[in-house]
Symmetry: C2
Subunit: 216 residues, 2 copies
């Protein structure tokens, strides 16, 4: 049913049905559903489990020192959130997770991965969990790369190039509305619209809603 989303996740991809069941059991998987807008996790609590999104989209925002909310990531089907805070047993997690749409997700507990359990599936999961974290680090590098660019245009070009690379095509759509994209890029929404229009006028890109085409 939700098999698709699970398979997309590097923790489970390529496992056969039995292995998958064992893996879910080893992680004490619990399914839960949230309505659009619901708060999935409150900042300030400890994150005992991390989340794997089965369907829908969640937003992870960081509550900073002044109480402002900064969009850290949005997780779609197959994506996870909260692994680091969970693994490190951070007492007061500084992130809030909310449902952008109706959401179904699995809560997973990495407790067994920390133990000396030598079952094959547990060892495999340990390795995969590690790979997942490593991949997350690299994807955050990409975010930093974008945010470091001096102008909105360069941020957009970098962002769009990254997407084009990931999709292997110069035509693609992104899972953000303008407001969310602006926050992801760290810029003002209307300034973003202005720049998108300018880039289209300059013949650099074409776009319709969330679909983009890089002309270059």
């Amino acid at each position: 049913m939700m098999k698709g989303a699970i398979e997309k996740n590097p923790l489970f991809s390529g496992l056969d049905d039995n292995e998958c069941e064992d893996a879910l059991a080893a992680l004490s998987a619990i399914k839960q559903e949230y309505a659009k807008g619901a708060v999935i996790f409150h900042a300030g609590e400890r994150m005992y489990r991390f989340g794997l999104v089965l369907c829908g989209t969640v937003q992870v925002s960081f509550t900073d020192i002044d109480g402002n909310e900064i969009l850290m990531a949005s997780a779609d089907a197959g994506d996870t959130f909260g692994e680091s805070l969970c693994w490190l047993k951070v007492a007061e997690a500084p992130v809030t997770v909310t449902a952008s749409t109706d959401v179904t997700l699995l809560w997973l507990t990495p407790e067994l991965l920390m133990s000396g359990d030598t079952r094959k599936i547990v060892q495999e999961l340990r390795n995969r969990f590690l790979s997942m974290l490593a991949a997350k680090t690299l994807s955050m590098n990409e975010r930093v790369q974008i945010l470091s660019k001096p102008t909105i245009r360069l941020k957009l070009i970098t962002f769009l190039s990254q997407y084009a690379n990931r999709y292997g095509s110069k035509t693609f759509s992104v899972p953000y509305d303008r407001e969310t994209l602006a926050r992801y890029l760290g810029v003002n929404r209307t300034a973003l619209s202005r720049e998108l229009s300018a880039m289209q006028a300059d013949g650099i890109i074409e776009f319709y809603k969330n679909s983009f085409k890089i002309l270059k």
Copy 2:
């Protein structure tokens, strides 16, 4: 000798001498020295080992699509670099590592951590390696938090607050010169100097070279 730097690193902290030796052996540690300015790792190669800085400072810069160099991190004694790229066996690592000062470092190979080796020390290292990656993710969150701020002043306040938190004091010094700090914050150097002066005039901070004091 360099024991201090090693102990600062979460992979080795708290291990006794024997364990430490075993750990270094398990990671096939090799010591190497570089002169100031030397290139420690070239972008485009595969990173078979990750680095642990024993003394000195290295800079990790990201080479983006246009060939620009973006400062991703600077690693001091006890810090590591390249774990993610190494673990994921990325064929063409997109980072360049250079020596900001004369540098001594250990090259470490995580190969054994990927195996089914069940020796206690290896299991321990696996867990610690994981924690290290998780911690890196969180510290990158802090960087993103800074870069997401709309103005130089807010970036600085966020950056300085993070440092004050880490040191547990409102007086501290940072390991960056102005040029490097500007690149870390993603802003223009002279604009940074201008804003620092303005903040001092406004009674928010005091600073002398790389020493800062938050007055608030």
